[in-house]
Symmetry: C2
Subunit: 305 residues, 2 copies
């Protein structure tokens, strides 16, 4: 079943201990959409400038991503550049040129509005709320956010996530949002803010799913080479939501069983791990569903006891 | 089957965000022995001063720990004091008074020498090697080490772990020992140094077991209150080795199956998690095997998919 993804489509300049690229396709919407495209039909809403390359359009199209909602306006595409520390656990932003993204007002094409699944990448909470209102009877919706919105747009953010079925967030942001260091207690507080499902991403250490009194933990995949971690969290979100959309589950008709959510967390982890194997989103040029399912089984093998 | 544990028995001064104690029983041997005592007969080798309290002797005895190898000499018991950061991920050492531990030369009582299992807490590598040589036909032996020995006693340490069946070490120390940041490649290098089994402890993020080409990952237990993390790594070691000793497996007669090692890693995680629930080793005053087994099953519940 189709999934609407809203967020940034950008160019990134990346430097990791493995090398440097001056300009490569990036942005939360890009990573989410590419990861989810291995499971379901994805329709994106984003904005790019007139410098956006045809080859990048072709790449997205090659993954059967619907680009009707990809607005092209005069000016330059959002550009971000950063450099990773030697252990790749920290990164320093060198450049953030919002460019055409500064005035992004997501407009959903009519053909998107009745899609049952909605995943909102990290953008201004008010815009996230506005997008959800443009949808008709969305079944399962949620998204990501970041420290900036938590700190400076808290009320806006709370109004937004109150309507969401799920929130996907990293551990430091979960702690910040809850005002509580202990992850288990932070999760309880966040679940009281609205979303019935919470996934806390912990980078190389995996993820934790919380729903009601239940939780599920998965360790991170031990890659032999982390080439570039850019986009891994967004790919987690894309794999998670892509799997749920593929399964076509309606939480309002009997709920998504916790077992399906657990599988979705594993698929999220699988896509996040593949993302790190090449620069930017390059791993998705030749990744296959067969490899994805094989890694899913690897997760079973190295966690089973 | 009985397990010999060698290491420090000490007093600690501890300050965590939950409170402060000026003097409480501590030391690697203490934590390992207490944790392992829920599974098997434990015989300790350590040294204390004439200030060592009778009530602490009674506590160890109440866990059926054999104290024949606990030497008492004139002087003061090893004292360490430290303060934890607000998130308890860092600690600052305030005092390290080695006292009688400075001249510790472990001597195994005759009744210890034919024990089949040996766990060496973090002490000078040469002493660890010497202890192993005092044993007759030990079946399964190994231990822990720390950054100090890795940096300044490397050759000594390599000669020691070459003889071990397993090495238990934390992640930053594994990286340091291997000279390699990537955990998977670091593990390969360490396995080439001698031990057939490697367990890398990752604090709140759990642990990874490596054996041959196989690995097993377990996330850390999500405690609602981490009261005091002191000794958790040693309790992990005690639970791990205690379980293997209880099962009485002989790796030289057909090997410890990987499945048993995985279960041992879970029991290690369980004991490490209980350790954090009270100050120092206080949680072990009333812990029961029933609670341990219940938490083992909880690990199943929150990791299964």
């Amino acid at each position: 079943m189709s999934l609407v993804v809203v967020g940034s489509v950008a160019y990134d300049g990346l430097e990791t201990p493995h090398g440097k690229v001056d300009r490569i396709l990036g942005g939360s919407c890009t990573y989410i959409a590419l990861a989810a495209s291995f499971f379901t039909k994805v329709k994106i809403v984003a904005v790019v400038g007139d410098d956006f390359a045809q080859e990048d359009i072709e790449f997205l199209k090659s993954r059967q991503i619907d680009l009707e909602g990809l607005e092209r306006v005069p000016g330059k595409t959002f550009f971000w550049a950063g450099v990773y520390s030697a252990d790749m656990n920290d990164r320093t932003t060198l450049t953030t040129d919002l460019n055409v993204f500064a005035d992004f007002k997501p407009k959903l094409p009519a053909s998107y509005r009745s899609a049952p699944y909605l995943l909102l990448g990290n953008i201004q909470p008010e815009l996230q709320r506005d997008v959800r209102q443009q949808m008709n009877g969305v079944r399962f919706s949620g998204g990501d956010t970041m420290n900036y919105w938590i700190a400076d747009y808290r009320d806006d953010l709370l109004a937004t996530i109150k309507q969401w079925d799920f929130l996907l967030i990293n551990d430091s942001e979960a702690r910040m949002l809850a005002g509580e260091h202990n992850l288990r207690r932070a999760a309880e507080k966040i679940l009281a803010m609205g979303p019935q499902t919470l996934v806390i991403k912990r980078g190389e250490y995996g993820a934790v799913l919380f729903q009601g009194k239940d939780h599920f933990m998965v360790p991170g995949f031990l890659l032999e080479d982390v080439f570039d971690p850019t986009g891994a969290g967004d790919c987690f979100a894309g794999g998670f939501m892509g799997y749920l959309a593929e399964r076509g589950i309606d939480p309002h008709k009997g709920g998504i069983e916790h077992a399906e959510l657990r599988r979705a967390v594993i698929y999220g982890s699988v896509l996040g791990s593949f993302c790190c194997e090449k620069f930017g989103p390059d791993r998705f040029r030749d990744l296959s569903r067969r490899e994805i399912d094989a890694r899913y089984r690897e997760f079973k093998t190295f966690t089973d006891f």
